[in-house]
Amino acid sequence: MSQVYSSLRKPLIGGHKSLGDVTDDVARPLERRATGLWWMAFLTALTVLGIGVIAVSYQIYTGIGTWGLNRTVGWGFDITNFVFWVGIGHAGTLISAILFVFRQRWRTSINRSAEAMTLFAVMCAGLFPLIHMGRPWLFFWIAPYPNFRGPLWVNFRSPLLWDFFAISTYFIISAVFWYIGLMPDMATLRDRTQSRFKKVIYGWMSFGWNGSTRTWVRYETTYMLLAAFATPLVLSVHSIVSMDFATAVIPGWHTTIFPPYFVAGAVFSGFAMVLTLMLIARKVLNYEEYITVDHIEKMCKVILATGGIVALAYSMEAFMAWYSVNHYERFVFLNRALGPYAWAYRIMVLCNVVLPQLLWFKRVRRNLIAVFIMSIVINIGMWFERFVIVVTSLHRDFLPSSWAMYSPTIIELATLAGSFGLFFTCFLLFARLLPFIAIGEVKAVLNYARPHPPSSDEKRVPTPPAGKGELALEG
């Protein structure tokens, strides 16, 4: 872990933190009682989740008919939300895996929470393919398992089946990756805590971590391997999700550009969501020194880049529709822009293409309020992108006789809200019960992990990161 730092480089973590400070800062929120603010947020999220649960139970009890779908538009909010949440998930893995592989050390202070976000987002996403079935209680038929029917297998040609594998793989890998990253911090907490009970729990969760060099080496290796695992997933998952549409024959869906387009869009929306969460978190948990404005700006740049790709994809789609001389295809895009759902299309373009251009300006990127608003805007825009793709392609396809409109019912709206409820409930619990920032990793990038620390405080002896082992052994 011995890096040579240029003294010119701006430190990643502000405020001359000592190793102890880091541990204290991260562990403090977990050790003190929950604040009123947290309770307020948590209860709100829980209520919204409750509404969602009621809506879904009612829908499963009564029938899919409680959604606004019809014989022409067979998918609406359900798949829109599914794609939206899967997209959100991507930022986390990208930050924790790809940036790790590329040694982007600024990731350390946000990867833990971003990855948590991924897990919860994928949970929300996985929900929709299940409840959108006409007979959800038979969901397990999607899985190939030995049976007494001859046996009867599943249709390996169906993108929905690919989804099943893609999503589950993605969830498992992310979960393991995230947990491995947690282990050293679990140990730290174990050693700090006084309560017997917590000690046992943290003990179990840290898998008997003893900060020995060997443990660290094993840890680093595993982490590296998993990062390598997770990296392709970032690309594969949303590519496969996009094939739900790309392999279909419906004009507006049947497009080869979808996989890269969807991945870019996913990262685009994912980073927006990370920003939304981080900007709140750093304020509430006062992690300003850890999640600095530089972090925010870097993320804005990623958004700008991916946003560019998305914009390009939009224009390519339209261009190909015109260039292909396929009048069904042409019609779909004209219908998007000028048809009954033009409003949705315009929101999409405004939020995903026009407004993000503001991020070219440094002043905007470093203005937290502006960035916060922007992140919300982009999330809205990306949700509408999925809505436009799913609904406007379906509602007017080949035979005009079957053209129809789609509008959501309150059940669908409640279900969408519920998914946000689930997401925030989980995230708040995470913020309350687990270290929000990867202690171990942040310590590795503390500014005085340099050869000659400009430390004002002489009492402390700079210790190499591996030395953290002693800390651990004290307990």
Partner: protein, 219 residues
Amino acid sequence: MKLRKQLSLLAAVVLVACYVIFFSVADLNLPGNHQGYAPEQPISFSHRLHSGDLKMSCLYCHPGVEKSPVAGIPAATTCMNCHRFVTGGWDETQIQEQQDQLENREAQFIISDELAKLYQSVGFDTDQMAYQEEMATGPIEWTRIHRLPDFVYFDHRPHVTAGVACQSCHGPVETMERVAQISTLSMGWCVNCHRDVNNGLVPELVGRVASTECGVCHY
């Protein structure tokens, strides 16, 4: 040391769990599988006696198999074709006859309890050996044994015309005192037999084609 203890404990638990699950699943009777179902019938009719010892053809009582999807249960009057003359079991009539000879009185007339139910249902007066329509209590309500789900359409006709023996699905009925369902009647059971036929593994049906299309049974 601590870690190892925990891990080994965990491993043990998992092992036991797998073991239990595996063996409980092995002889688990899936819902809907009524293999071995042999309910008591209102009249203890013996297929062993009729189609076994007396070598009656199945089609005498179940003519539907050739003309209709369902084999059908014989009407009470079909039984009466014989049982208006045969009113009791062979053995007991023999015994009775000997008894009569011993006591040298004219032969007495025996009506078995089971057949009495039949006569009741069709309104057959055994005193005059004649029908009394008004005495009829209506047909016998048999308990159904072989039963397929409502989304499965099995048709006897093609199987019988192809020369599939009744026994190959219903088992050795001619040996059963009380009929039982010997096959699982599960989809796998059907399909695998059809596959065997197509692969020429069923001697009496070599060269024939048994479709394995979904739409053959499900519509």
